[in-house]
């Protein structure tokens, strides 16, 4: 019984495996190139376990950002996780002692798998658990390998940081295509560029995030009336 669940969960996670191994590898190399090697990458991939944020975290570490900036940036970058949680409130009710782990491991990619219909005759509980566990393993493995290769200096890594830019750009384009109304995307762009010009490139994240939150809040209130 359990074997069938494990097999199915593994098959389902194959696309995420490819993605996490590659992106994790890129993250590991990038982090190591900024002299935050395996000793940082392993615990961060294990316990933060949020791809986009981990890339940003490297930059925050390099620029000696404050803890407050770390908290706020993580909040804004990962706020979407709140909503994955909200939509998994019901399905995850079948979980028992493994529930805290499965909630902790709810990343974008894992969400995209568990949000789908669970096949007939399969234990939902173990299906959710193994999908979460497999994805987590791929990410830790990919990023640790990247950190090792990065630290060994085998590849001339100058410019590797563009993988982060490219990652965000592709997500941005995917989001752009799936939506008719581009207010949020455009406002984010304008607010960030405006804040850079006003506050400089080292201190623009917090003002940008405040502007974005305010604009979306006001617009949300208005449209309801």
């Amino acid at each position: 019984m359990k074997r069938k669940v494990i097999q199915l969960a593994f098959q389902k996670t194959i696309p995420v495996m490819v993605g996490y191994l590659v992106l994790g590898f890129g993250y590991g190399i990038y982090s190591a190139s900024k002299s935050y090697g395996l000793g940082w990458v392993f615990p961060i991939s294990l316990f933060v376990y949020a791809g986009t944020m981990q890339y940003v975290l490297v930059d925050l570490l390099v620029s000696h950002a404050s803890v407050l900036e770390g908290l706020l940036t993580t909040f804004m970058v990962n706020a979407r996780h709140l909503f994955y949680g909200i939509s998994m409130l019901e399905p995850y009710q079948v979980l028992k002692k493994e529930k805290p782990y499965v909630i902790f491991a709810l990343t974008d990619e894992t969400y995209s798998l568990v949000v789908q219909e669970v096949p007939e005759g399969i234990s939902k509980r173990w299906y959710y658990f193994f999908i979460s566990l497999f994805d987590h393993c791929y990410w830790v493995l990919g990023s640790c390998l990247g950190a090792l290769v990065g630290s060994a200096n085998i590849i001339p890594s100058k410019g590797i940081e563009f993988s982060m830019t490219a990652l965000f750009l592709t997500v941005f384009l995917d989001q752009w295509k799936e939506k008719q109304d581009h207010f949020s995307a455009l406002f984010g762009l304008v607010a960030s560029i405006g804040s850079i010009l006003l506050f400089g490139k080292d201190h623009f994240l917090i003002p940008t995030m405040i502007l974005i939150a305010l604009a979306l809040y006001i617009r949300g209130k208005r449209e309801r009336i």
Partner: protein
């Protein structure tokens, strides 16, 4: 040492965001404004992150040309093939070649 606290802050906040719904809205309706923010926030934040990545672009020495080329390659490939991994890998490779061999 500050770095360790920064990592801990990030761990704490990420976990908080993942656990909060299960604690907060276990048996209650989710406020409409929260739902709305959740739907809209990702779009604005992703735009901010793209700008964030490009904030160190050197407009003096290379005029931002390597960045511009790599962005166009990534975006063009992505709109054409719609495969994130191919777009990211190619864009990054192009950028690495440009900054290591062309715009030195």
């Amino acid at each position: 040492m500050n770095g360790v606290y920064l990592v801990l802050a990030s761990i704490f906040m990420t976990a908080l965001l993942r656990f909060l719904p299960f604690v907060l809205w276990k048996n209650r309706a989710i406020p409409e404004i929260v739902q709305r923010l959740g739907r809209e926030l990702p779009y604005a934040i992703m735009a901010m992150l793209v700008v964030y990545c490009l904030r160190n672009t050197d407009f003096q020495a290379s005029f931002g040309i390597p960045e511009a080329i790599a962005l166009v390659v990534t975006a063009g490939l992505h709109l054409y093939k719609r495969n994130s991994l191919i777009s990211i890998a190619t864009g990054t490779l192009v950028y690495m070649v440009l900054v290591q061999l062309v715009f030195v």
